[in-house]
């Protein structure tokens, strides 16, 4: 694919950067990153990247944030990328530095997040000798990167970096790794920058096949019970407005997947919530009864379909996706539309007519009214769902919310109602504990003017809590929520419901006092154990200009409902309050 990519970089800086000086590989790296418009890099130094860190010393233009763990760095880069739509960048040293990035690379890969991951390696002369801190990181990450480079000639660096950004942030997005041996980072050459990118084997389809679009339009006109399943692809391609127009014109109810939340305004009357394992009654029932299912930038993940053989049994399936390999991968697809979601929807919107869906919409509205998401509130105990609802109300649905993985993640997905895209950051595909807090730091760096709320479990909070240091030292004003149920709640829920109350290793006794933990880093810590305290603590957190951690001590045995257990179809929901 060939393209001109011009990042927005200040003209004076640009001409300074473009000077054809003879400089080291490390300086080439920094200049190239700046030319790509990178305004914030998360990283951690070590032996193999010492030349690179040396080049940063005294470089006023280059903004690097020292995290306290490489995992924190890559999740922060991920949160930055998901919330801004720009490429997130992180740097680590060879060996242990590089392997500490692996979870973060896999997290980004599963959720199609554009990252450029830079690792140092031992010198080219030492590669393959089991040298100190040598790890074959390109080999290790081959299955979890969109592409990777091991740079063997310093002259290749500017091209490789430019290609990496192009590949990461076009087509189906994803992480690209650049491994730079130490000698390459030291060698000097004349800096030459080319705007043109041309990667012969890379040609993502943008415009769809017109015939398929016509077939889709036709199918919609004939449909009586259509449903749209909108996923992360809507958000990533910036197609939220096109989706709204499509829904309004076609009169089709929309369910948004975990990654699709925010891709469609939750206040819209045709929004029916999230589908799948912890989806709404309405979304799951509608999917099982629809006659036309239009997947848009969604990949029919098994947490959405559950038992795939029984998924949407009456539906003809249409699928709009930028990745042709997703079409037909898990569900038989009658109408494939390969292309950029936004480009496809723009075409569809030119032609689409309403479906014959009025009776269906009436039916769907009845389900919504009769079986909304609900929980039993309490005046004596603090309920986690209440905490989320309270945060939603106080932030008017306008915050950027990041989560960790577990019950709190599902409650956040259910009870925070999103109005905007790029406001919901969660590890969906890999389900990575430890993601919630550092990703919020990245999101805040990318969105200094927005309120960023990070919702974590008491388990996952302990997987990257070291990054409290970054919040404190740079005064990054993330509001860190701990939904403290004293257990690995989601595991406990499975053990209660599926493993017959046999609770095995889910008790988090021995966890730190989270308020004191925050304070130990110089971050304000607050605690709430009932509704009154919860409201006051949240108010105080909102009124505090810097970072705050709020430990919400909630009821221990609360479960997430609806729930579909494995081996069932999505209409076989446990509602939780009907026993």
């Amino acid at each position: 694919m060939s393209a001109h990519t011009s990042a927005v970089v200040d003209q004076d800086l640009r001409s300074k950067l473009l000077k054809p000086d003879v400089i080291s590989g490390s300086e080439i790296l920094l200049r190239s990153l700046l030319l790509e418009g990178v305004d914030c890099v998360f990283g951690y130094p070590g032996g193999a990247v010492l030349y690179i860190y040396d080049a940063m010393h005294g470089n006023e233009d280059f903004n690097h944030l020292l995290t306290r763990h490489e995992q924190g760095a890559i999740h922060a880069a991920d949160g930055y990328a998901r919330s801004t739509g720009k490429v997130g960048v992180c740097i680590a040293t060879s060996g242990p530095g590089a392997t500490n990035l692996v979870t973060g690379i896999a997290t980004a890969y599963m959720d199609s997040v554009p990252l450029v991951v830079i690792t140092g390696n031992v010198a080219t002369t030492a590669i393959g000798t089991d040298a100190f801190q040598e790890a074959d990181i390109t080999g290790i990450t081959m299955p979890i990167t969109k592409h990777s480079y091991l740079v063997r000639n310093v002259e290749d660096l500017p091209r490789v970096i430019h290609e990496a950004f192009h590949i990461a942030n076009t087509g189906r997005k994803g992480p690209v790794l650049i491994d730079i041996p130490k000698d390459i980072s030291a060698q000097k050459t004349r800096f030459e920058w080319q705007e043109e990118v041309s990667v012969r084997g890379y040609n993502p389809t943008v415009q769809p096949n017109k015939l398929q679009v016509d077939r889709l339009v036709q199918a919609i006109e004939e449909a009586e019970r259509p449903v749209i399943l909108a996923g992360g692809g809507v958000v990533y391609s910036g197609a939220h407005e096109q989706l709204l127009e499509f829904v309004n014109k076609s009169q089709i109810p929309v369910t948004t997947t975990l990654l699709g939340l925010g891709g469609f305004p939750s206040g819209h009357e045709l929004w029916i919530g999230m589908p799948g394992m912890h989806g709404t009654y309405t979304a799951n029932t509608a999917l099982q009864n629809c006659d036309l299912l239009i997947g848009i930038g969604a990949r029919f993940d098994d947490r959405v379909t559950m038992t795939v053989q029984g998924f949407a049994p009456k539906a003809k399936i249409a699928h709009i996706d930028v990745d042709p390999a997703e079409i037909g991968k898990t569900v038989p697809t009658a109408i494939p539309c390969v292309g950029d979601v936004k480009a496809v929807l723009e075409l569809v919107n030119e032609k689409v007519k309403p479906a014959r869906s009025s009776a269906w919409i009436h039916q769907v509205q009845t389900w919504k009214e009769e079986k909304p998401l609900r929980y039993t509130d309490s005046d004596t105990e603090l309920k986690p769902q209440y905490v989320i609802e309270m945060i939603h109300e106080a932030t008017k649905g306008e915050a950027i919310v990041t989560t960790d993985v577990g019950q709190h993640q599902m409650w956040a997905a259910q009870y925070y109602r999103f109005n905007n895209p790029r406001s919901w950051i969660t590890s969906g595909g890999l389900g990575t504990m430890g993601f919630g807090f550092p990703s919020a730091i990245g999101a805040q760096m990318g969105n200094p003017d927005r309120m960023v709320v990070s919702i974590n479990g008491d388990g996952g909070m302990q997987m990257c809590s070291q990054e409290l240091a970054i919040c404190a030292i740079h005064n990054i004003p993330v509001k860190i929520v701990v939904i403290n149920n004293q257990v690995l709640g989601m595991v406990r829920q499975w053990q209660e419901i599926i493993y017959d109350n046999r609770y095995s290793h889910i008790d988090l006794a021995g966890s730190p006092d989270f308020v004191k933990l925050a304070e130990a880093y110089g971050v304000k810590g607050l605690r709430a154990t009932n509704k009154e305290e919860a409201r006051l603590a949240w108010q105080e957190a909102m009124n505090t200009p810097g970072p705050v951690l709020i430990d919400f001590v909630v009821r221990k045995g609360e479960n997430v409902f609806p729930m579909v257990t494995q081996g069932n179809t999505i209409d076989q929901m446990i509602m939780g309050d009907e026993e």
């Binding site: 390109t138 080999g139 081959m142 299955p143 969109k146 592409h147 091991l150 590949i167 189906r172 990667v199 012969r200 084997g201 890379y202 990745d323 042709p324 390999a325 037909g328 991968k329």
Partner: protein, 164 residues
């Protein structure tokens, strides 16, 4: 779904690690590899891999689509979808006491194979042909005692103007 044998040609950038990318993809997605051959292609900087795999039509479609997602993959063609020539080379070291040699030479001749080495009690037979032919030849030589067998795997191309 019915399973078939497919021969696919994959044109790739001749980059370090490209074989690992392709074989790794087959491994982690559970696609089967019966044989894989790699060598130079007609264009400098590009190599051609020929992979023999078994699977349903749906698997084949996934293989092709997943291969295309690799940046170093330029082109994927299912050669078995049209008439093709497929060949492999086998070297067969067979026990060949002088008394058995005339019979073995009879087999060699029938298959239009050739003898490329003769030792005191062994011979190396070189056979070129499609997989079935080589399978048949190996079967016929088994009674004499095969000491070593080395096969290249299939390389192939479509007949006529068809290009992969």
């Amino acid at each position: 779904m019915s399973t078939h044998r497919h021969t696919i040609s994959v044109l790739v950038n001749n980059q370090p690690g490209v074989l690992q990318r392709v074989s790794g993809l087959f491994g982690r997605r559970g696609f089967n590899i019966e044989s894989i051959t790699v060598g130079e292609s007609e264009e400098r900087g590009l190599s051609r891999m020929v992979i023999v795999t078994t699977g349903s039509e749906r698997t084949l479609e996934q293989i092709s689509k997943q291969l295309y997602k690799l940046i170093d993959v330029i082109k994927v063609v299912d050669l078995s979808a049209s008439p093709m020539v497929a060949r492999e080379v086998a070297l067969i070291k067979v026990n060949a006491e002088p008394s058995a040699r005339p019979e073995i030479l009879g087999v060699v001749e029938t298959f239009r194979a050739s003898v490329v080495d003769i030792g005191t009690s062994t011979m190396i037979v070189q056979a070129i042909g499609d997989t079935d032919k080589i399978d048949a030849m190996v079967e016929l030589l088994k009674p004499y005692g095969i000491r070593e067998l080395s096969r290249t795997g299939v390389t192939a191309m479509t007949r006529g103007l068809g290009k992969a």
